[in-house]
Amino acid sequence: SWRRERKPPSGNAKAEPALPSSANQSKAVSEKPNYALKFTLEGHTEAVSSVKFSPNGEWLASSSADKVIIIWGAYDGKYEKTLKGHNLEISDVAWSSDSSRLVSASDDKTLKLWDVRSGKCLKTLKGHSNYVFCCNFNPPSNLIISGSFDESVKIWEVKTGKCLKTLSAHSDPVSAVHFNCSGSLIVSGSYDGVCRIWDAASGQCLKALVDDDNPPVSFVKFSPNGKYILIATLDNTLKLWDYSRGRCLKTYTGHKNEKYCVFASFSVTGGKWIVSGSEDNLVYIWNLQTKEIVQKLQGHTDVVISAACHPTENIIASAALGNDKTVKLWMSTY
């Protein structure tokens, strides 16, 4: 699929020599971040597909086309462990709210539930009839949601590993699924160009968001408070929607995104930014309110497929495809 390519392994985080930042400087520049590369995490042997910080801020998980998940220290980029078990490439990985579990979505049509501490696979969720492409926990972490190339969204019970509900309302592969902060809603995006909001309890579709020309939706997620959703489409555009009113509020452009399902994120620890990878090997940072690009992070040598923001610190993790295969940690004073 899209998110990966291949290359050989290694296993260490290379620390960048020095930090150019200074606090005075950043304040003076008024509301602009000063992210700088801190660590380059090498270990994956193929394209990295996804990076996620654990909710407690301790860890960073990265999934890759080399069929493994690697856990890294979130602050120092230190290699912690590798979770092995999938037979094919992994497209996505997600943390449970208590940071003790991981779920991964793989091309082997299964999801796997992992215990992070022991590194063991607890459950294998079988049911999809094609590549599983995206996954997430709900806030109480008793449910897992997954989207697949079989065009369905499935809701799984964590405890039993059983599929409780299959939502089939997309007519193309599902590219992203996400729960809102209260766990009452699910948003799913698909290549058919539609974003759907679902009632998590009943599995009923509450709303479908469609833009005028419906470009394939490559990524979608709720804002931290669940009031808005961020939608990435394969026409080089990110949009912030007020879904309750069905209105697009903000549009973020300037990056390149036409081919891959690139992750985007809300950065709320310092200034309020939108962070996204890009197919021009950069990480883009926009001001959420003004929509202007406030910083571009250079360093990767391939498509930046994933960018994630640390829950409490001004840290961005980014990961790139097969030419690069690394995960990079960026830090900012603002």
């Binding site: 709900n138 109480p140 409780l164 766990g183 009452s184 009943s202 009031k227 007020d242 509020l249």
Partner: protein, 901 residues
């Protein structure tokens, strides 16, 4: 007039703002109150300047329209972080969560083989489907799907702020799907019994809990069918499991438990008679809807309720609609006249649902009544809205309150406003947001606002009380009855006492034979075993009596309400007693009149439950039974039997004794427990004895220091002895609360029940050695109930047992065979009591459409501040709110019994 109205608005608003729970419930919709508080001349936007009689509309749970933002969003900073704080649930969240998880906690009781390991999480793979028929597979899959959806809803709602309401909605949905699945096989007995057994055996515990929740819900709706389903498993399982299961399934839980019972509606001033107009001809085939029955009992918290039913004439299929309507109006009108002639000063309030509301309005034009309340007013007709120039309703002069649903089909708020401006009578309008014609709110509304129907109903009731209080207070001046103090704070008014004393009074009166048909107790105390009354040879099973139907909940609310007040017998009471006695006589006479009427005409029965509640013990026996012209071996009586176990320590703040048996109230002097024996007997009421049955409700004060008074006021000393000994005996050997294994708890439970039964059999046995109902010949279930309350002050082990027990039992098995109450109970314990009674009700023939919802409710209630011990065995700490009393898991078992406390 206008000024007075304004003044009143101000007063009620101020009061409501300060005190009412319902203000909290619907706080957003009460800006009206704020307006009135502002200035004396402030007018709400909805005031009718040209029609001063139309008071401003009140909105209940009507979501205000969202204001459209005119500004373009680009300028507005977007906050992606701040989570809108979720509103605090309007109910007692902790309690709601506790009752919500009842089935989960006790799911193990449903398992047939409790010792075997529960099915694994992947039980689905282990289900052996070999040998299943196609129908079985299909049914099983349907149920499974329903349960899976329910599971999803549970998990998704976990931790939500209004989780109990969401869960309730989800469970209702699951129950509906299960019911549909079962209906799809036409409730084929074999198939559904197989299904139940299979599910119980194979489902994993969480799924089984969900299944039980669904069963619990359905049991409240279609008890007979569910019982039929459970029969096989009950016989197979151990007695303990069966008992617990039947307890568990007794009544669906309600998230609003607690809230409503802690905030009780108050009685209306002036003790008005509330006449409920029927909204259509009733017949045994189509009994009044459950909702109407429920409301009937709700209203009975406010005052005397008299449902006026209109029956189809025999062979009345040819009767036209117009005739029927005339009949309904006539019935109500004659009832009004009747009351007028007997009680010229008694205020009369007419209440009706839908068509009944219309009937009530029309009657109010013809006869003088104090007020009219229209619930779900059918404003829109095929010819357009009512209120044309020739509409007689425009001539109404009686104050009228309209309560309509926002989404009602027969009415529209705006059309209603137009209509209201045309009526000359003082009128008010309450719009219930998201509600339909029957004032039921939608599921979406429940979800989004965290409401339950019970909460909404209470708010509606509150509005009714507000309206009626205003009207009644004013009319009192005109009528010139006793001067009333309107101050809401002064709850302990003599007249309150007097009213509450009615039952007592009636029972006193009962000792003087007032009705020739009544077989009255000879003892001056009036405490007679009522089963003997029931066996009166004059009983006739064929006569029909329409009873005030009441649902458990509301009546419990009423009872708790009154429980809180302590009786003060003052001299002043006596005069009231006389008045009440007069009233009781009227009731009695009324019954006789009823009886004389041919079957098919309306009849009524006065409910007195709320009246008798100062007693610390009480038994309620209520029943609904549609009048049934069928007089076969199968009767259509639908007894609703409610047994309340209410224990209440007198010594508030006394030692909270988590350990068994110790009562907080050993201190003497005060009456510790009171006894109220009350019975209505099926046979007796047929002969018009109902009033008598009521009148023979007995009450005795039993005090530790006044053992002799006990003796005199209760049936006989020997009976008391029996009671005491039985109470003490199990207590000495009783298990300790600490050792609370499931089985021992269950044992304890049944012990206590047996104990109750023994008491019950003890008391009635002495006055009439043959407690077995002799009405067996007519094959009528003869509910007799008696209640013993015992406090032993001398027991060495158990010093005092503040046990309030009540027992109601039926003397006939489904087969029509009479069974002695005590045998039934002593042998079977609670479960038998529980399971056999509905069984009795199953007499009715489901196929013919005669549904017989029989509900037996055992209620154990304790005052929150007091510790109560139900059973000498120590199992039943009453569900008091003190943690100390919650030592036992078995508590929760009694929670089934006492959910509404």
């Amino acid at each position: 007039m206008a000024h007075r109205g304004g003044e009143r608005d101000f007063q009620t608003s101020a009061r409501r703002m300060g005190t009412s729970l319902l203000f909290q419930l619907s706080v957003h919709e009460r800006e009206l109150d704020l307006v009135f508080l502002d200035h004396s001349y402030a007018k709400p936007w909805s005031a009718h300047p040209d029609a001063s009689s139309a008071r401003p509309t009140r909105m209940l749970f009507v979501t205000p329209r969202r204001q459209h933002e005119s500004t373009i969003e680009s300028d507005v900073p977007i906050d992606v972080e701040t989570v809108v704080s979720t509103p605090v649930p309007l109910y007692d969240n902790q309690k709601a969560r506790s009752v919500m998880n009842e089935c989960e906690r006790h799911v193990i009781f449903a398992r047939t083989d409790a010792d075997a390991p529960p099915p694994p999480e992947d039980w689905e793979e282990h289900v052996n489907r070999t040998g299943w028929t196609l129908a079985q597979n299909k049914l099983f899959n349907k149920i499974l799907k329903a349960l899976q959806s329910d599971r999803l809803a549970r998990l998704a709602n976990e931790g939500a702020c209004n989780e109990p309401v969401l869960r309730r909605v989800a469970v209702d949905k699951c129950a509906r799907r299960v019911r549909q699945a079962l209906a799809s096989v036409s409730w084929d007995t074999k198939l559904i019994q197989w299904l139940h057994t299979t599910l119980v055996e194979t489902l994993s515990l969480p799924m089984l809990a969900a299944y039980l929740d669904a069963l619990q819900t359905l049991k409240g709706k279609i008890p007979t069918l569910i019982d039929r389903m459970l029969v096989s498993s009950n016989t197979k399982t151990g007695a303990a499991g069966a008992e617990a299961l039947s307890l568990l399934l007794k009544r669906p839980w309600d998230p609003a438990v607690g809230v409503l019972s802690h905030n009780k509606p108050s009685k209306l001033p002036g003790s008005p008679l509330i006449l409920i107009a029927s909204s259509g001809p009733s017949s045994s085939v189509f009994p009044t809807s459950r909702r109407h029955r429920f409301w009937q009992s709700q209203l009975s918290c406010l005052g005397k309720v008299v449902p006026v039913a209109t029956h189809l004439l025999p062979g009345g299929s040819g009767a036209g609609v117009l005739q029927c309507l005339e009949h309904m109006v006539g019935a109500l009108r004659s009832k009004v006249l009747e009351i007028h002639s007997h009680f010229p000063h008694k205020p009369i309030v007419l209440i009706g649902w839908n068509t009944g509301a219309l009937v009530a309005c029309h009657v109010s034009v013809m006869e003088y009544v104090t007020a009219v309340v229209c619930l779900g007013f059918p404003l829109l007709t095929v010819d357009g809205p009512r209120g044309d120039v020739d509409d007689p309703l425009l001539d109404m002069k009686t104050p009228v309150l309209f309560v309509i649903g926002q989404n009602s089909l027969q009415c529209h708020p705006e059309a209603m406003e137009d209509f209201r401006e045309k009526i000359r009578a003082e009128n008010s309008l309450v719009v219930v947001g998201g509600a339909d014609d029957n004032l039921r709110i939608s599921k979406a509304k429940k979800k989004s606002e965290g409401l339950t129907q019970s909460m909404v109903d209470r708010c509606i009731q509150d509005e009714i009380v507000d309206f009626l209080t205003g009207v009644l207070t004013r009319t009192e001046g005109h009528v010139g009855s006793e001067p009333r103090d309107q101050d809401a704070e002064k709850k302990k008014k003599p007249r309150d006492v007097a009213r509450r004393d009615l039952a007592f009074e009636v029972s006193e009166r009962g000792s003087r034979p007032a009705s020739p048909a009544a077989k009255l107790p000879a003892s001056p105390s009036g405490s007679e075993d009522l089963s003997s009354v029931s066996s009166s040879p004059t009983s006739s099973p064929k006569t029909k009596v329409t009873t005030v139907a009441s649902s458990q909940k509301s009546s419990q609310i009423g009872s708790t309400q009154l429980l809180k007040r302590h009786v003060q017998r003052t001299e002043a009471v006596l005069t009231h007693r006389q008045a009440q006695a007069q009233f009781a006589a009227f009731l009695k006479q009324n019954m006789l009149v009823r009886k004389a009427l041919p079957p098919g005409t309306s009849s009524c029965l006065f409910e007195q439950t709320e009246e008798a509640e100062k007693e610390e013990l009480r038994v309620q026996l209520k029943r609904h039974h549609p009048s049934s012209p069928l007089a076969g071996s199968k009767t259509c009586k639908r007894p609703k039997i409610k047994v309340s176990l209410i224990s209440q320590g007198d010594a508030a703040g006394g030692p909270c004794a988590p350990s068994s048996g110790a009562a907080p109230e050993a201190a003497g002097g005060k009456p510790l427990t009171m006894t109220l024996g009350q019975a209505s007997t099926g046979a007796a009421e047929l002969t018009g004895l109902l009033a008598t049955a009521k009148s023979s409700a007995s009450e005795g004060g039993v005090s530790a220091s006044q053992a002799s008074s006990v003796v005199s006021s209760s049936a006989s000393p020997s009976a008391l002895h029996t009671l005491q000994s039985r109470l003490v005996a199990p207590s000495s050997g009783g298990s300790l609360p600490g050792a609370a294994s499931a089985s021992s708890l269950l044992q304890g439970l049944s012990f206590s029940l047996q104990d109750i039964s023994s008491k019950a059999s003890g008391l009635p046995a002495s006055p009439s050695p043959g407690p077995a109902p002799q009405a067996a010949s007519v094959k009528l279930p003869t509910p007799a109930q008696s209640l013993g309350a015992v406090t032993t002050g001398a027991g060495s082990i158990v010093r005092a047992v503040p046990v309030a027990t009540a027992l109601s039992s039926l003397g006939a098995t489904p087969g029509g065979k009479p069974t002695a109450i005590h045998q039934l109970l002593a042998n079977g314990g609670l479960a038998k009591l529980a399971s056999s009674l509905p069984g009795l009700a199953q007499i009715s023939n489901q196929a013919s459409g005669l549904k017989v919802p029989t509900t037996i409710t055992l209620t154990l209630r304790g005052q929150p501040s007091r510790i109560t011990t139900l059973s000498p065995v120590g199992t039943g700490a009453a569900p008091s709110e003190e943690p100390a009393s919650q030592v036992l898991p078995s508590n929760s078992q009694f929670c089934y019994l006492a959910r509404t406390t």
